[in-house]
C-alpha cells in the first residue's frame, strides 16, 4: 500500500491543532503550529510532484467506506484545480500563522486556541478541496464555519459578536439549502445503488427541472461563501471585525472553497442547469465586480476597502467560471490562487500598518512613506497586485478571464474591464492617503517593518511576481483539469470573433 498522502494532508494540520492545544507555553504553541504548517507545505510539494499532467482528472485517489448504509466514503482525489488550491493553502497557512504572532497576545485571550483553530480550519479547507464524495465535501464545508466563527467571535474587534453571528447565519443558511440539494441529488439514484461519490453522481442522468433546483441549492451556498452580489453583505463585516490575519485567511483561502465548489462540483454535476443559468450568474458576477469596486472607493476604513475589493475580485472569478470557456474557467482557477496571494498580502501589510497607528481609518494616516519606506513599498506592490499590474500573477489571471469571457459574453467582458479601472482608483487612493503627503504628529515616528514582518510577507510577493512571469507550472495542471471538466459539461470554446486575425491559437 502506498503512503496515503492526501489523507495525511488533512490529518497533519488536525494533529497539529491537538498538539498545539496541549503544549504548555504560548510561545512553544506558536512554534509548534508553524512547524506543523511547514510539514503540510512539504507534504503538498510531495503530492504536487506525484501529479501527472495529462493523467486522469482525479489522481492519487483514496477511497474508504465511511458510513456504509448510506454509501458515504472517505474519498479523496487530487485534480489540477485542487492541486492549485491546496498549494495556496499550504503557502498561506504558515505565513498567516507567522503574521498573527502578536495578534493573539494583544487579544488577551487564549493564544493556543487561536493557533489551534487556524490549523483546524486548514485541515477542513484542504479536506474540502480534496474530497471526491459530495457528503464529505458538505460536512467539511459546514464544519469549517465553526472554527472561523470562534476565531472572529473571540479574537475580533469591537463588533465581533455581530460580525461572527452574521457570518455564521449567512453561511449556515446557504449550507442548509445545499444539504437539501445534496439529499435530493443522492436520491436521484435508484434505491440500493445510492452513494455520495462524485463519480457516481456525475454519471446520473437527471431531468432538466430537477437539475435546475439542485443547481440553485448548491449555487446559493457557494455564492454566499465566495460572496457574490447580493449575498455578500456578511464579508465586509466579518473581514473588518476579524483580525487582519484572520481576514486574510478567510477571504484569501477559506472562501475559495465556494468558487472551488462551483468549478469542481456544480459544473460536472449539473451541466444542463449550468448552461441554463450561466447568463444569470454572469450578470450577477458583473454587478459584483462593479458594485464591489464602487463601494471600495467610498470606504474610509482600510479593511473595508480590501473587503469590498475582494467582492469585486470574486465577481471576476465567478465570471470566468461561468463563461464556460477553457481560458475563462482555467483563468478563474488561476485567479483563485493569485487572488489568494494578493489579498493575503494586502490584508497582512495593511494589518501591520493599522497595528502601528491603532486605527483603521484612512483619515488617521498620511505621509507614512517617509518614516516607513519598506512598509510603503510592500503596500504599493500588494496594491498593484490587487489592480492586476502586468508582471504580477493577478494580471495573467484577470487577462485570461476577460479574454475567455469575451469569446462568449462581449458586453459582460467589456463591463468587467471597468472593474480594473475602479481597482486602480481605490488602491491608489488608499496608497495616496496613507503613504504620501505630509506626515502628521501621530505618524511621523511610525516604525518601519521589522525583520520578522518582512520575512513573513516576502514569500507572497516572490510568488506573485514568479507566477506573473512564469505562470505555466501552475497553469498547466489547472488547464488540464478544467478542460476535462468542461468536456463533462459538454461545451466547446466559441469560434474566435475575428477568426482571420486569430492570434496564437
Amino acid at each position: 500500500m502506498t503512503f496515503p498522502v492526501l489523507t495525511a494532508l488533512v490529518l497533519v494540520p488536525l494533529v497539529g491543532a491537538i498538539v498545539t492545544a496541549l503544549v504548555p507555553a504560548a510561545r512553544t504553541a506558536k512554534l509548534t503550529a508553524i512547524g506543523f504548517s511547514l510539514v503540510s507545505l512539504a507534504l503538498t510539494i510531495v503530492a504536487a510532484l506525484q501529479f501527472e499532467l495529462g493523467g486522469p482528472l482525479y489522481q492519487l485517489t483514496e477511497q474508504v467506506s465511511w458510513v456504509a448504509p448510506f454509501g458515504v466514503y472517505w474519498s479523496l482525489g487530487l485534480s489540477g484545480i485542487s492541486l492549485a488550491l491546496i498549494a495556496l493553502t499550504a503557502v498561506a497557512t504558515p505565513i498567516v500563522l507567522g503574521a498573527m504572532w502578536n495578534e493573539a497576545d494583544a487579544s488577551g485571550r487564549s493564544v493556543k486556541a487561536f493557533y489551534a483553530l487556524v490549523l483546524v480550519l486548514q485541515a477542513m479547507t484542504v479536506g474540502a478541496f480534496l474530497s471526491t464524495d459530495v457528503l464529505l465535501f458538505y460536512i467539511l464545508f459546514e464544519a469549517m464555519l465553526i472554527p472561523m466563527y470562534f476565531l472572529i467571535g473571540v479574537y475580533g474587534g469591537d463588533k465581533r459578536q455581530y460580525a461572527a453571528m452574521k457570518f455564521l447565519l449567512y453561511n449556515l443558511f446557504g449550507g442548509l439549502l445545499m444539504l437539501a440539494a445534496v439529499i435530493g441529488l443522492y436520491l436521484q439514484a435508484p434505491a440500493g445503488e445510492r452513494s455520495f461519490l462524485l463519480a457516481d453522481l456525475v454519471a446520473l442522468d437527471i431531468d432538466a427541472t430537477t437539475q435546475n433546483w439542485l443547481f440553485l441549492g448548491f449555487m446559493i451556498a457557494f455564492a454566499i461563501k465566495a460572496p457574490l452580489w447580493p449575498l455578500h453583505t456578511w464579508l465586509p463585516d466579518a473581514a473588518t471585525e476579524a483580525t487582519p490575519s484572520q481576514a486574510a485567511y478567510l477571504s484569501g483561502v477559506v472562501d475559495k472553497v465556494g468558487t472551488f465548489g462551483m468549478v469542481a462540483l456544480v459544473l460536472p454535476l449539473f451541466p444542463d442547469a449550468t448552461q441554463t443559468f450561466a447568463p444569470v450568474v454572469v450578470t450577477l458576477a458583473v454587478i459584483s465586480i462593479l458594485y464591489g469596486g464602487l463601494l471600495a472607493i467610498g470606504q474610509t476604513d482600510i479593511k473595508r476597502i480590501i473587503a469590498f475589493s475582494s467582492i469585486s475580485h470574486f465577481g471576476v472569478i465567478v465570471l470566468g467560471i461561468f463563461a464556460l470557456t477553457s481560458q475563462g474557467t482555467g483563468g478563474s482557477t488561476f485567479y483563485m490562487v493569485s487572488h489568494g496571494l494578493s489579498t493575503t498580502a494586502l490584508f497582512l501589510v495593511a494589518g501591520m500598518m493599522i497595528a502601528r497607528r491603532g486605527s483603521r481609518q484612512l483619515a488617521d494616516f498620511g505621509g507614512l512613506q517617509k518614516p516607513a519606506p519598506i512598509l510603503a513599498g510592500f503596500l504599493l506592490v500588494a496594491g498593484l497586485s490587487g489592480l492586476a499590474m502586468p508582471g504580477l500573477a493577478t494580471f495573467v489571471s484577470e487577462f485570461l478571464v476577460l479574454v475567455g469571457t469575451f469569446g462568449r459574453y462581449q458586453v459582460a467582458a467589456a463591463l468587467a474591464t471597468f472593474g480594473i479601472v475602479l481597482a486602480a482608483l481605490y488602491i491608489l487612493i488608499m496608497y495616496q492617503r496613507t503613504m504620501t503627503g505630509p506626515t502628521t504628529p501621530e505618524t511621523e515616528n511610525t516604525p518601519d517593518l521589522r525583520g520578522r514582518e518582512v520575512l513573513v510577507v516576502a514569500p507572497l510577493f516572490v510568488l506573485l511576481i514568479a507566477l506573473g512571469v512564469a505562470p505555466a507550472p501552475l497553469l498547466d495542471p489547472i488547464n488540464d483539469s478544467t478542460r476535462q471538466t468542461l468536456e463533462v459539461v459538454g461545451v466547446s470554446d466559441p469560434e474566435p470573433v475575428f477568426a482571420a486575425e486569430g492570434g496564437d491559437e
Binding site: 458510513v67 485571550r109 487564549s110 459546514e142 467571535g153 465581533r160 453571528m165 449556515l172 437539501a180
Partner: protein
C-alpha cells in the same frame, strides 16, 4: 359482541420480556429497600440496584436487536426490532439519569431532591430535615417504574396494554417532577401541571381507544388493522378515535399544540428528572406512536399523514421560533425539545422502514445529547441552586472552557452541525422523508433548523464571546457520577457523528414493526 370464552392462560415468553421484568422487579425491591434498609444505606443500595437493573436491561435488549420478533402475552406484547432498540435506548437513558441522581457534591445540602415532598416549602420541617441530611430515596424505584412502563409502552400491541403502560410511565414522572430540592414551588407547580394535563391526555387516549374499539371491534392492533382495511366508506367513529389516540401520544412527545406543559415542567422538575423525561419519555412515545399508526392504523395512512404533516411543520417552526425568546436555559432546552419532536415527526411521516430507522437513530442521538446538556446545567450554580438564567451564563467559556465547550458541542449537535450525532440524525430523517415524497416538509424542516441554529448559537456567543457578568454563575465540582455522564454523552455525541455506521446499521436491522 365477542362471545364469552373459557379463560386461557396467556403464553409468556419470559426471555423476551426479561428486561422489563428485571427493571420492574428492581423497582419493587427498591421499594422494599426503602422500607427496611437502614436510612444511611438506602441511597447507595437503591442507586446501585437501579444502575445494575438498567445495565442488565440494556445489555439484554441490545444483544437481541436483529433477532426474530416475538409475540407474547396472547398478542398483547410484541418484542420486535423497534421495541428492542427503543428499550435499549430507554435503559441507557435510565442508567445515565440515575447516575445524575446520585450527585451529592454540587449542592451543599445534598442530592438534587427535596428531603420530603410532602412538607411545606421553605418551612421549619423542611429546614430540620435538610439539616439532618434526610434523603428521599424513593426517586430510584419511581424512576425504574417509569422506565419499565416505557419499555412496555414501546412493545404494547393492543390499546389497553398501551394505556396501562402509559399510566405506569406517567404517574411516577408526575411525582418525580415535583421533588426538586431548590425552587420548590416551581417544582410543585410543574408536577401539578404535568399531572392535570397528562391526566387529560390520558383521558383522550382512553376515549380514542373506546371509539376505535367501537369501530373495529378489537383492541389488538393487528385486528384493528384488519377492521380498518375491511371498512366501507368514511368511518367518522374511526377517524375521531384515531385523532384522540394521537392526541394522547402527541402530548407525551410535546408536539404542538399539545406542548404547553413542556417548558413549565422541564423548568420546574429536578434537572436529572428533566433529563430523564426529555430523553426517555420522548423515545417511548415516538415508538408507540409509530407502532399505533403503522401497525394498527396503516389503512388510514392518507388521513394521518395529512394530520402529522401539519403538526410536524407547526411543531418545528413554533418550537424553533419560541425558543428564540427564552431567557432560561431549561426553558430553552424545553422548546428545543419541542422543535425536535417536529423533526422526529418528519421521519414518522415518511412511513417506511428508512423512516423508522432514521427516527430510531435520531431518538438515540437526541436523547444522549439532551441528558448531557441537562447534566451540564446541573453544574452551573449560584447561591440559590442552579443558575438557569441565560445572563448568568455569560462568559462561562472564559472561566471553565472545557465545560462550556462540551455544552457547545451538545448545542451544535442539536443544531445539526456536521461531525456531531445531530447532523447524521437530521440527514437520515430528512433523506427518508425526501425519498417518501415529502420534499416540502423537508424544506420546512431545513428552515426551522436554520432558525433553531440561531438560538443555539446565541448561547455559544454568550458563553464564549461575552465577558463574565456581575452575579454570574460559578461552576461546581461534580462527583464521579455526573462527570461520567457528561464524558460519556459527549463522547457518544461525537462518535455518532463521526462513525455512525454501526449504530445506523443496528437501527436499520431494527426498523421493521411486526404486525
Amino acid at each position: 359482541m365477542i362471545a364469552v370464552q373459557d379463560f386461557v392462560a396467556p403464553t409468556i415468553d419470559i426471555g423476551a420480556v426479561l428486561p422489563i421484568v428485571v427493571v420492574l422487579g428492581a423497582a419493587i425491591i427498591g421499594v422494599l429497600v426503602d422500607a427496611f434498609a437502614p436510612a444511611n444505606r438506602r441511597a447507595v443500595v437503591n442507586a446501585s440496584l437501579s444502575a445494575v437493573a438498567a445495565t442488565v436491561a440494556f445489555g439484554w435488549t441490545i444483544a437481541q436487536v436483529g433477532g426474530s420478533a416475538v409475540v407474547t402475552f396472547n398478542g398483547a406484547v410484541v418484542i420486535d426490532g423497534p421495541a428492542l432498540f427503543a428499550q435499549a435506548a430507554i435503559a441507557l437513558f435510565t442508567l445515565l439519569s440515575v447516575l445524575l441522581y446520585t450527585e451529592r457534591r454540587l449542592d451543599p445540602a445534598g442530592d438534587p431532591f427535596t428531603p420530603s415532598g410532602a412538607v411545606i416549602p421553605g418551612g421549619e420541617v423542611e429546614r430540620v430535615l435538610t439539616l439532618q441530611k434526610v434523603q428521599q430515596t424513593e426517586v430510584y424505584p419511581l424512576t425504574l417504574f417509569a422506565s419499565g412502563g416505557m419499555m412496555i409502552f414501546v412493545a404494547s400491541n393492543d390499546l389497553l396494554t398501551m394505556f396501562v403502560a402509559l399510566e405506569v410511565l406517567s404517574l411516577p414522572l408526575y411525582l418525580l417532577s415535583s421533588l426538586a430540592r431548590r425552587k420548590r414551588l416551581l417544582s410543585q407547580e410543574a408536577g401539578m401541571k404535568y399531572f392535570l394535563l397528562g391526566a387529560f391526555a390520558s383521558g383522550f387516549f382512553l376515549y380514542g381507544a373506546a371509539l376505535v374499539y367501537g369501530a373495529t371491534g378489537s383492541l389488538n392492533l393487528a385486528q384493528i388493522d384488519a377492521g380498518v382495511s375491511g371498512r366501507v366508506g368514511v368511518d367518522s367513529l374511526l377517524l375521531v378515535g384515531m385523532g384522540m389516540l394521537a392526541v394522547g401520544l402527541l402530548f407525551k412527545i410535546s408536539a404542538v399544540p399539545f406542548q404547553f406543559w413542556t417548558p413549565d415542567v422541564y423548568q420546574g422538575a429536578p434537572t436529572p428528572v428533566t433529563a430523564f423525561m426529555a430523553a426517555a419519555t420522548k423515545t417511548a412515545a415516538v415508538v408507540a406512536l409509530m407502532r399505533l399508526l403503522y401497525v394498527g392504523l396503516g389503512g388510514l395512512v392518507e388521513d394521518w399523514t395529512i394530520l402529522l404533516w401539519v403538526i410536524a411543520a407547526v411543531t418545528m417552526l413554533l418550537g424553533s421560533v419560541l425558543a428564540l425568546t427564552q431567557t432560561d436555559v431549561k426553558r430553552m432546552l424545553a422548546y428545543s425539545s419541542i422543535a425536535h419532536a417536529g423533526f422526529l415527526l418528519v421521519g414518522i411521516v415518511a412511513a417506511d422502514e428508512n423512516g423508522t430507522a432514521a427516527v430510531l437513530f435520531y431518538l438515540l442521538a437526541y436523547g444522549i445529547a439532551t441528558i448531557g446538556a441537562f447534566a451540564v446545567v446541573t453544574l452551573v450554580r449560584d447561591a440559590g441552586g442552579e443558575a438557569t438564567h441565560l445572563s448568568q451564563w455569560a462568559g462561562l467559556g472564559r472561566r471553565s472552557p472545557v465545560l462550556a465547550s462540551v455544552f457547545a458541542l451538545f448545542l451544535l449537535s442539536f443544531a445539526g452541525i456536521p461531525l456531531t450525532s445531530g447532523f447524521i440524525g437530521k440527514l437520515t430523517v430528512f433523506s427518508a422523508a425526501f425519498d417518501a415524497g415529502q420534499g416540502a416538509l423537508v424544506i420546512i424542516g431545513l428552515v426551522s433548523s436554520a432558525i433553531a441554529a440561531f438560538f443555539y448559537v446565541r448561547v455559544i456567543v454568550l458563553m464564549f464571546f461575552s465577558d463574565p457578568a456581575e452575579g454570574g454563575a460559578a461552576v461546581g465540582v461534580p462527583s464521579a457520577g455526573t462527570t461520567a455522564v457528561i464524558t460519556a454523552t459527549a463522547l457518544i455525541t461525537v462518535l455518532l457523528g463521526v462513525v455512525p455506521g454501526p449504530v445506523l446499521e443496528l437501527a436499520q436491522m431494527a426498523s421493521e414493526f411486526v404486525r
